[in-house]
Amino acid sequence: MKDEYLLARLQRVLAEDGSELGIDVARRDEEFVLTGEVESDQRRLEVERRVAEHVPEARVRNEIRVTRVTVPAEAERLAPRVPVNGGEGR
């Protein structure tokens, strides 16, 4: 199967079977590199397992991170509104 179709299929498997929509799968030589963020280490390993199942001949490099749940270090103060096109956003 061509890489493009395989990567598309993997992305759909992760979303439709694993409910993980924020994972990127890329191929680097013989290695499949996984990036993105999930809520637990268990989910991180689950994504790796699902990908490995579909490409048993290849190595899988798991660079998925578990998102932190710390208290915010600071608040953002939203000062009075600036005029339209006043410099924020793109």
Partner: protein
């Protein structure tokens, strides 16, 4: 005095992460007057997962106001999911508004899930196949509900809460090709139709935090993978 608003989206709670947010949530009263949840509270939208969300975000020191996201619709159990959250005291908005009295003034929150469709000049149109029309009509209906709920709020500071994005600004980092699945300019138009101080959304895990509507309303993407903390806190001045 400011109104202090905490917000997070895309927490995707299930039994495997139960309790993870609690240490940060247990001290939320020191940091905020209200907590907004911007959808995708569950993984698959089951009542069992919603019960986990209710345990995680119920019984806090501040009122909790939520909208649902696409994940919360996945198992076709929306009434049960909503009930589980409401039983825990969480206010769930879908085309409705609620007010919260704080030391900094009366805050109004109007919420709707929203939907995709894309952004001005590059959006889907209700033309052709019935599937295409249904897609766009869902987006239009959601934006109309949000506009109505925003207009009906009687408050000093008004916030729009959605799951889908109202502007493309906060999608920077996502592939351009999927923008039409991440939000709709119709939501932005609804937000700009009424004097709104802040628009909060989630859904775009690879997007960025800050943007602005064409009318000058600040937009914040609080998807958990974007903010990388239990919640973000915004201080809104009365003079906003």
């Amino acid at each position: 005095m400011s109104i202090r608003v905490a917000a997070v989206g895309d927490v995707h709670i299930d039994a495997d992460v139960q309790g993870r947010y609690r240490p940060a949530l247990d001290e939320i009263g020191e940091h905020a007057d209200v907590l907004l949840l911007a959808g995708d509270l569950t993984r698959h939208g089951t009542v069992a997962e919603a019960a986990c969300v209710a345990r995680e975000f119920g019984g806090l020191a501040v009122p909790v106001v939520a909208v649902l996201g696409n994940h919360d619709y996945h198992s076709d159990e929306v009434p049960g999911v909503t009930k589980a959250l409401e039983d825990a005291g969480i206010v769930v908005l879908e085309g409705e508004g609620t007010t919260v009295d704080t030391a900094g003034g009366r805050l109004g929150v109007a919420g709707a899930k929203g939907f995709g469709g894309g952004f001005a000049g590059r959006c889907a149109t209700a033309f052709g196949e019935p599937e295409m029309k249904a897609f766009v009509e869902h987006s239009e209906a959601s934006a109309a509900k949000l506009a109505k709920a925003l207009a009906a709020l009687e408050c000093e500071v008004r916030i729009a809460l959605t799951h889908y994005a109202p502007v493309p600004d906060t999608l920077a980092g996502e592939p351009l090709e999927i923008y039409p699945f991440l939000g709709s300019y119709l939501l932005g138009e609804a937000i700009d139709a009424v004097r709104t101080q802040l628009a909060i959304h989630g859904h775009a895990h690879a997007g960025c935090e800050r943007g602005m509507t064409p009318g000058g309303v600040r937009v914040r993407n609080v998807a958990h993978p974007v903010i990388r903390q239990a919640y973000s806190v915004f201080h809104l001045d009365e003079a906003c």
